[in-house]
């Protein structure tokens, strides 16, 4: 086993996750390899340092400040939703008020006739594009589905013939 594999096994050994046979192999290797022995020593020292570190206690006021923030967040949520509703509503109202004025200004500058002429043309192009996409899809679907349609017709016919034969057999059975 090479030193890199042994190095990976050291980490698992520290977590108590290494199988006993692998643990034996690990310690046999360490006994004969100075660099791995040094690495294991360093890892064990780190392990001791981290396992000896205590839990850090929170400050005494933490629970009450957390609860205050929770209450604040709880109250803020419906308020935030209401605020966004208000903003959208105000936007719609302003648009309704100012749109006629804006349209008037645009028509005065000759923009509206251009829009009136251009928008239907763009819409027609978009419809033509959508039609082309649908037609292409239909052609691809037919290419894929045609052999399947043929097969399913043959299968259906076979089933029909077999069921008829089966009915005849049953009838003959009944008359016997």
């Amino acid at each position: 086993m090479c030193c890199d594999e042994i190095s990976e096994m050291m980490s698992e050994w520290l977590d108590g996750r290494l199988r006993p046979e692998c643990s034996r192999a690990l310690w046999e290797h360490i006994a004969g390899c100075t660099s791995c022995a040094v690495e294991m020593d360093a890892l064990q020292a780190l392990d001791r340092l981290l396992t000896s570190a205590p839990f850090v206690r929170p400050p005494a006021h933490l629970a009450s400040s957390v609860l205050m923030r929770v209450q604040h967040a709880r109250q803020a949520r419906p308020w935030a939703l209401g605020f966004f509703g208000l903003v959208i509503g105000a936007g719609v109202c302003l648009a309704l008020i100012f749109l006629p004025t804006l349209l008037g200004l645009l028509s005065a500058r000759g923009v509206v006739p251009v829009l009136m002429h251009g928008v239907p043309k763009v819409a027609m192009h978009l419809v033509a594009l959508a039609g082309a996409v649908v037609r292409t899809g239909w052609v691809i679907a037919r290419r894929v589905a045609e052999p399947l349609i043929g097969l399913s017709i043959v299968a259906f016919a076979c089933l029909l013939v077999l069921s008829r034969l089966w009915v005849r057999v049953l009838r003959c059975w009944g008359t016997m």
């Binding site: 990976e8 020292a45 957390v66």
Partner: protein, 190 residues
Amino acid sequence: MDEAEKLRLALQGDEGAFASLIETYQTSVYNLAYRMLGNAVDAEDATQETFVRAFLHLKRYDPARPFRTWLLSIASHYCVDRLRRRTEDRLLLDEDISLDEYRQCEIPMQLSTSAIVEQREREALIRRLLASLPAIERAAIVLCYWYSYSYEEIAEMLGLTVSAVKSRLYRARRALAKKLAQEPEWHVLR
């Protein structure tokens, strides 16, 4: 009142029941945030944010999992995001741990002055070591050492595979051991 009952009430919006859950789990969440972020101010903020998120998304909690695991998962993700957002680590690496922060550690108060100083230096050393790790590796080390979670649990909490957790712990340990060996203080402390 047992935990399931507290959770049921908290889900219905009972703040008293949720306050009781905060009391129970604040130390776990705060310690994780402190070890991840390296200072008391950020740890306090992260603890508050964790509980706010838990309260607002309590409907998503799966009762089949321990509540502490769910909370620590929220805290880990928050701390990892926060560390990634940090343009520069605000932790002053050369600065020693403050006395107020040191008092928060669960250290027996009957220790001698020299033992207290030694423990303080160890804490400062641990902070420096953890600050040298990338966010996810830091989270894996903290969950492994302070909470004794298995590879599978850490994987679930951090959204990693079990083999990714193994390799990250391995890489983190190697990096930390190397850094520790270079610390002059460690040769005095050990």
